[in-house]
Symmetry: C2
Subunit: 335 residues, 2 copies
């Protein structure tokens, strides 16, 4: 279906249809209704546009993040904010506290409060969340992960590949005993995928993860890094390098080593993930993976805005943001 | 006016009035209207309760903060979230980007989107903001600072006293040449009051601030600390101690010293404010002022909830949260 057919069916010019769709000029209610009907009948446009023609935009974008005291999510929100600002929109932010029930509540609240669209960084993805998302009548974009079987745009980093690269860097430094402090496996992006990347790299070297060198923690806080490292240090034979699923955990891991007088990187090298501000605050400076939560937020919002303009491409598009290994002192020197 | 008089005027029992006010049991619309009218006529209750009787509660609290990538504000939001959660409420968070116009827009949006109340951490306080706040018909609590002449509850730290204490600590360590990297003076709480506390302490010792040792930056980022210290180091005679208006600036100041090979605290002692996580991440560990943004968020929300229940005490109450000096390595040793 083309705009020409919509115009023909509504009995107006293409310019008029375009004017109504872009709201570039006011038109009569009667004319608007006729064009809307033609749009619906021809199926010319994605739902979002037909909808945004019918509903008035509120200029509000709902954003749901699992936690707030985490630079990853504040970077994300800053990216979202920047694009929203360019589009004269405001964001309404809600924190799910990693509680799937709250997440689902919040999705419904945002819809009821007439957000134009939603950006969701889900803590866990399951079938129930998928069903709530499928029931939404406003557009949304996911960040980081997507429930299986859901057709929706998703912005993400290639966590698996990046984790593989940082582990391969450790192998290249001569390390043969490499541990990992990981997050929870139900967090597909930062938990599971980063662990898989670590396993991939070991696999390429012909090894498998040693259970006593892998600490899977329930969250990504500094204190989890301390705990994880303490657990790993109980192994009879210690690893010479430990990859941590995020920088905050790596900072905790280094603190645990420091408090035992174990030198980083000479005795145990440590690498993180995220390149937070803390990575260059601590000594030794942290080797880590740089990616940009700001860019993720930015791209997710651009995508949402495109959908609102009716320009959405494939509905289950995966939008990747780049990453890069940043080698610093915490893994310097060879083994 | 007492509840008895409301009951008498409405021609119902006290128990019925109480039931309507607390919504503990459904009553007929007609009865509700009669009691509401009696409440209005007798002036028995604070506006908020009369209002919450008329409007249905939405269980949503609007929160406005100036920026998100700052642990101070994320701590605040966590405190707010915790109390909101206990009251089966959700928070809708918006970021003003320190733009007074956005702040005022957001206040209006929150009211239009039927928040039960608003918690505002204003970036700047001026007459225009005061007028918008005065026009609100929903209750609100301020955090950190309050526009002059506005009667509204406000939760804050005694920044001036705390800044005086940390400066006095430096004097006690034998320092005679003490500089400061401050924030902008339009930020009354973290900018102006912390500078005044520094000046108070010098004043008690019989000194006045030396302009070449005071760097007033436009924001509170790490990079502002770097810039501020670089500026101070240009002075012919250098200070032996520098107090920074926040920890992030102190981290930047220490990085600037480190990059010039100036030892902390031996050559220049550095103190911060806020006791962020970074304060113990860096070496030397940072002397700073501990206070709890979480507690501020917590207390602000408790106060808002009390107002919603009609239990508000004095409308222009100032609720103070505690603080304490934490002495660490960055100011250890005497001069």
């Amino acid at each position: 279906m083309t705009i020409r057919e919509v115009a023909k069916r509504a009995g107006v010019s293409i310019a008029t249809v375009s004017r109504v769709l872009n709201r570039s000029k006011p038109v009569s209610e009667e004319l608007k209704r006729r064009i809307e009907q033609a749009v619906r009948e021809t199926g010319y446009l994605p739902n979002a546009v037909a909808r945004s023609m019918i509903q008035k935009r509120t200029g509000l974008i709902g954003v749901i993040i699992p936690e707030i005291a985490n630079p990853y999510f504040s970077g994300l929100v800053e990216g979202i904010e920047s694009v929203a600002h360019q589009h004269q929109s405001h964001i309404m932010l809600a924190v799910s506290r990693k509680d799937p029930r709250r997440e689902m509540d919040l999705l419904r609240i945002f819809q009821a409060r007439q957000m134009d669209g939603i950006i969701l960084a889900a803590a866990r993805v399951g079938g129930e969340l998928r069903r709530v998302l499928q029931s939404l009548t406003i557009p949304y974009v996911l960040i980081g992960q997507r429930p299986a079987g859901l057709r929706a745009p998703c912005v993400k980093v290639d966590n698996r590949r990046a984790a593989c690269e940082v582990t391969t860097h450790l192998i290249g430094k001569g390390h043969r005993r490499i541990g990992m402090i990981s997050g929870p496996m139900w967090d597909l992006a930062s938990g599971k995928e980063r662990y898989e990347g670590y396993r991939d790299a070991l696999g390429e070297a012909g090894w498998t993860p040693r259970p006593e060198w892998v600490a899977a923690e329930e969250s990504f806080r500094l204190q989890d890094g301390v705990k994880g490292m303490e657990r790993i240090l109980r192994a009879k034979e210690r690893p010479t390098a430990v990859f941590c699923a995020c920088d905050r955990m790596a900072v905790g891991a280094i603190q645990a080593l420091e408090s035992r007088g174990i030198r980083v990187p000479d005795q145990i090298a440590v690498a993180g993930f995220d390149d937070e501000e803390a990575a260059t605050m601590i000594r030794p400076r942290l080797t880590t993976v740089r990616h940009s939560p700001f860019e993720m937020g930015w791209k997710a919002t651009e995508r949402l805005m495109a959908t609102l303009r009716g320009e959405g491409s494939s509905p289950d598009e995966v939008i990747r943001v780049g990453h890069g290994l940043v080698v610093r002192d915490s893994t310097s020197g060879g083994k």
